[in-house]
Symmetry: C2
Amino acid sequence: MTTAPDPEDLTARARIRDAALWHFGEHGYERATIRGIAETAGVSLGLVRHHFGSKQALREACDEHLVRTMHRLHEEAATRPPGGLNPVAMMGPYRRYLARALAEGWAEPFFDEMVRIGERWLAQADESRPDVPDVDPRSRSAVIAAMALSLSVLSKHVERGMGVDLDSVEGQDKLLRALLDVYSHPLMTPEEAAAARAVLDRGHGQQADRRRGE
Amino acid sequence: MTTAPDPEDLTARARIRDAALWHFGEHGYERATIRGIAETAGVSLGLVRHHFGSKQALREACDEHLVRTMHRLHEEAATRPPGGLNPVAMMGPYRRYLARALAEGWAEPFFDEMVRIGERWLAQADESRPDVPDVDPRSRSAVIAAMALSLSVLSKHVERGMGVDLDSVEGQDKLLRALLDVYSHPLMTPEEAAAARAVLDRGHGQQADRRRGE
DNA sequence: CAGGCGACTATACGTGGGTATAGTTTGCTT
DNA sequence: AAGCAAACTATACCCACGTATAGTCGCCTG
């Protein structure tokens, strides 16, 4: 545990923020209450307001802290040998919060950062690729990012499906092995994909003149 | 538009249920209000209670209806030539509701059904696979199901990343093309996966005695 | 016509919880 | 020592919203 230097040592403001991170992650924004957060942090209701102003602002502070922490971790990781990033185990205490935030439509900076990272990676990988992808790297990166994060966002369901606790070491291990298998085995052959694309192309022609957006 | 035979023709109960589906999908369970649902359905607050008893029961009725509809669609699809299922465009009006429900931890039957379908598919595909997967089909299916659904659950972020509206025809088209590309190109080579697995195996030995759950 | 029942409305109740304000303690500067 | 600003508490306000109750209307059956 690198972070968390004993809750006693933290300033009240930091304790409130951490409590909020936990409550928002555990219950979601709506169900979390300022009173509950204050109690967990061991402070009065008023102090929360004093430091953060409003529930909404408190959430934004949590977001900001998350982004800062992620940046720090990211830079730390850049100096050391990568060793393959773990899309699920990253920053343990923030996992639930992050999953909630993403599911509820927040945490844009986080998602977008992930897309950017993946985009660079993909653009590089595309160079040593025989065929030409018909979708830009950014779009593919967005899809891949969503897929990677989905395991946290839908962790409750994944846990039920796999029969393990994703917070446990065994769960992480099993999930990683499943991921390795899925990531290293395409779900479709290039031929199947090409066939499906052909169908799309044909359908597209039919729709071309008949405008039907929205 | 196969469903929706003019809201006027529906019974009040059905109109309430549809309004609830919409409100829950649009705002989530907590933020949705019975009053808002009643207004959308064009009925009084009391009638909602008369028909469904409580907010929670109303949500359960929505879930049930969703599952029934899905079953019906599924059976319909079974009789016709498949043509490749679209994991995002399925049952338009329910997409948002389903995404919310999944993200908030509900809709277990739906997810589990998806896992079962994928499991059968994988078990069959495994037979014509050279190597032996070290994770059971069910676990892999759970991972794949989560990944497929993530595009709906995180649609807001995916839309931002891809720069399209996923409800539009163009958005669907672009998303499908991205999916085809991702599905038909593994993110890792089997060698890379094997190397990562080796790390896991080694790490596992190290952690065996030093207990560090949580 | 009686009577009964389901669909439906109007209104009230209670409270959880975000917000606001006034007051108290603590610690630092001059 | 004075004084003031920040940290912190206690308490009150207020309203949105889920829940509850009482009542009306229309239709069906005997």
